[in-house]
């Protein structure tokens, strides 16, 4: 492994964390578009930062934002110039290596999760999400998928609701009553 550029470990062998996954000497599908978007975004930020206080004073609230936006713009232009001169990676396509259908579907599921979380409540939303995504990825039988999904959901719910006391939207499930019922059950058991 080249120590200076261990970036692509991310893409091909499944290691994790914040190591980047680009290539040093070629550009990946969509990379140029991303770079252009970053450049445009930086320019917009710089314009916005200028609007905070202009060149009023070096200690103005806009000084650091303007400096950072300028750094972003300059570095993104440098990246753009470098990227445009690179050859495309051979054998990679946008739909296969950057945005395969599974990523798109999972992202759609995540957004749906966010939308449904409040009205529907955590438990039903999470159950549907887990069953659907596990079925989609593991392609095992329905009973097994549902068993694993619901089993892990119960574990997660117990850990986070009881141990970490995280408040989650209860939605349509009468969660508080349910917990109270449990408490009553236990206290009744304790009295006896």
């Amino acid at each position: 492994m080249e120590p200076d550029f261990r970036g692509d470990a991310d893409h091909h062998d499944g290691t994790s964390d914040a190591t980047p996954g680009g290539y040093a000497d070629s550009r990946r599908p969509g990379e140029l578009v991303f770079t252009i978007l970053m450049t445009l975004g930086s320019a917009a930020l710089l314009w916005n930062a200028y609007g905070i206080a202009g060149f009023e004073a070096l200690s103005s609230p806009g000084a650091i934002p303007m400096a950072t936006a300028a750094v972003m713009l300059i570095s993104s232009i440098v990246i753009f110039v470098k990227t445009i001169g690179l050859k495309k990676v051979e054998g990679e396509t946008l739909t296969k290596d950057i945005l395969p259908w599974i990523v798109l579907i999972m992202f759609a599921l995540l957004v749906a999760f966010g939308i449904a979380l409040k009205p529907l409540g955590f438990i039903p939303t999470a159950a549907i999400f887990l069953v659907l995504s596990m079925k989609l990825m593991a392609r095992r039988s329905w009973p097994l998928t549902i068993l694993i999904a619901l089993g892990s959901l119960v574990m997660i719910w117990l850990i986070f609701r009881i141990v970490f006391t995280v408040l989650l939207p209860s939605g349509v499930v009468p969660e508080a009553e349910f917990i109270q019922m449990f408490r009553d059950l236990f206290s009744a058991g304790g009295d006896a």
Partner: protein, 505 residues
């Protein structure tokens, strides 16, 4: 003496002891399971331990950190898949050993050496931090500003190939941190007149998005990766093996502490540097490096665990994170109302000694869990990703929601998740973004303080910069990092050394 008592606090509270133990246990497995990273685990945990007291929350996180840095080595040895970036170097010699049927020895040596390195790191932390914080009281605002810039630049330049992308990421992080009301003048910044943005962007949402969801989305590319089994025999290494490698381990631990203590650089870089060092100093290895040399395991494993203690030095004394995980921990301390920096060491020294005590405890637990439970381990690591990824996503959503009970944070988190996903694909490091978000406020405040005390005069600012040796050193370091990435540097090096030898950072 009070320091010792504070250090022992943890032993007088069984629940804290239990939490460190649990954290370490969880950390070993989180670090070992490819697709779960320590940074991810700590990011998600912050939001869950939000309502806890600070001591239990910190105990749990320290356990996970310590265990996770070690845990990555397991899969590196057994499967040639580093479970965490700090174990990348471990795979180079660990996997060849496993293929030879010496997986047990490899794991044993790794565990003991991690333990050893961990102790050296903690020892240096305990000795150096009080000194550094005394020294840090003399720091001028401009020194803090320069340190923050240095940290972001270091993580950008050392953790990946392209410095420009690192700089872009760091600046982006500072920008994200600046969104919302300016705390000094109540001017709106980067809000685009959207009321939602005046509150700023929750850094936990950024963090979980970038390290949780983007990672999970990326892992979708590898759902079909098969699990490999390895036979494991005797684990506890012989005393002679350990004694033989003691000199090397002291050297590589020192490398680890120093690299860890530099703002912005953590265990992964320390491990690679130490590996490189071991390669140079080991004259007659029993086996060639890359072919299963024990030295090739000793070096990175001592260094990455020593770097844990090292990374806590700038975090506790200056409030500047040593790596991505400590950046997140600083966030956690903020949330719990503590303000890491020299004043913390003076006002609440017990907090510092408690953390040292927790680190020591975590180190012992690591040794314990490292030398036991191999059977369970091989089972857990084989959890198919198809089941793991949906759970990570679920936890990310719950985590982002839990801090403020806000759906908006969930959307921010998803947004940054997708953004981080593309950044990963196109080679932008994510570490600098988090460092930037955390350091944004510190950078902004100190820049303004510095320039106001120089009466808004840039000339006087630079004059002051060169009148203090510390500021000069920091400034030169920042400039050097820039120059080292330009063709000028390579040319200069060729002229001095006669040939170009690339450094192994």
């Amino acid at each position: 003496m009070t320091a010792l008592m504070d250090m022992l606090t943890i032993f007088t509270h069984p629940e804290l002891l239990l939490l460190v133990g649990l954290g370490t246990f969880a950390g070993v497995y989180v670090g070992a399971i490819p697709g779960l990273s320590v940074t991810m685990a700590v990011s998600i945990l912050i939001s869950f331990t939000f309502s806890w007291d600070v001591l239990p929350a910190i105990s749990l996180m320290i356990g996970i950190y310590m265990g996770g840095v070690y845990g990555g080595s397991r899969t590196a040895i057994l499967l040639n898949i580093p479970g965490a970036p700090s174990a990348i170097a471990t795979a180079m010699d660990g996997y060849p050993m496993a293929k030879r049927g010496e997986a047990g020895t490899a794991i044993g040596v790794t565990t003991v050496m991690s333990f050893f390195g961990g102790f050296i790191g903690i020892g240096v932390l305990a000795l150096a931090a009080p000194l550094v914080s005394d020294f840090a009281l003399k720091f001028q605002p401009r020194d803090y500003m320069l340190l923050a810039v240095l940290g972001i630049l270091l993580v950008g330049s050392l953790s990946s190939g392209s410095l420009v992308k690192g700089i872009f990421s760091g600046a982006l992080g500072i920008g994200i941190g600046a969104v919302g009301m300016d705390p000094l003048t109540f001017t709106e910044r980067f809000t685009f007149d959207i009321p939602l943005l005046t509150q700023g962007i929750s850094f936990i949402a950024v963090m979980i998005g970038m390290f949780g969801v983007s990672e999970a989305l990326l892992q979708l590319h590898h759902i079909d990766l098969p699990a490999v089994r390895q036979k494991i025999d005797r684990i506890v290494p012989s005393f002679s093996t350990i004694k033989k490698h003691l000199p090397l381990s002291i050297q590589t631990s020192s490398i680890g502490v120093i690299i860890g203590a530099l703002p912005g650089t953590g265990g992964d870089i320390a491990a690679l540097m130490a590996y490189d060092h071991a390669k140079r100093v080991t004259k007659n290895p029993e086996r060639e490096f890359g072919d299963g040399a024990i030295e090739g395991l000793v070096a990175p494993e001592t260094a990455n665990n020593a770097a844990v203690g090292g990374a806590f030095i700038p975090m506790m004394t200056l409030g500047i994170p040593g790596d991505a995980v400590t950046a997140i921990m600083i966030g956690a301390l903020y949330i719990h109302g503590l303000n890491p920096g020299p004043m913390l060491m003076i006002d609440q020294p017990h907090m510092f000694w408690f953390i040292v005590g927790a680190l020591i405890t975590a180190n012992f637990f690591m040794l314990l869990f490292g030398l036991t439970g191999i059977k369970l381990f091989t089972k857990i690591v084989e959890i198919p990703r198809a089941f793991l990824i949906p759970l990570i996503m679920l936890l990310s959503i719950v985590g982002a929601y839990a801090v403020n009970n806000s759906i908006t944070d969930v959307y921010w988190m998803l947004g940054f998740g997708v953004f981080g996903y593309f950044m990963r694909h196109y080679g932008y490091p994510l570490g600098p973004v988090i460092l930037g978000v955390i350091l944004s406020r510190l950078l902004d405040d100190n820049w303004r303080r510095a320039i106001i005390s120089e009466r808004e005069d840039l000339g006087r600012f630079f004059g002051g910069l060169f009148s203090s040796p510390l500021s000069t050193v920091l400034f030169v370091a920042v400039v050097l990092i820039f120059v080292s990435q330009t063709p000028l540097w390579t040319k200069g090096k060729e002229m001095i050394f006669g040939r170009s030898n690339r450094s192994a950072s």
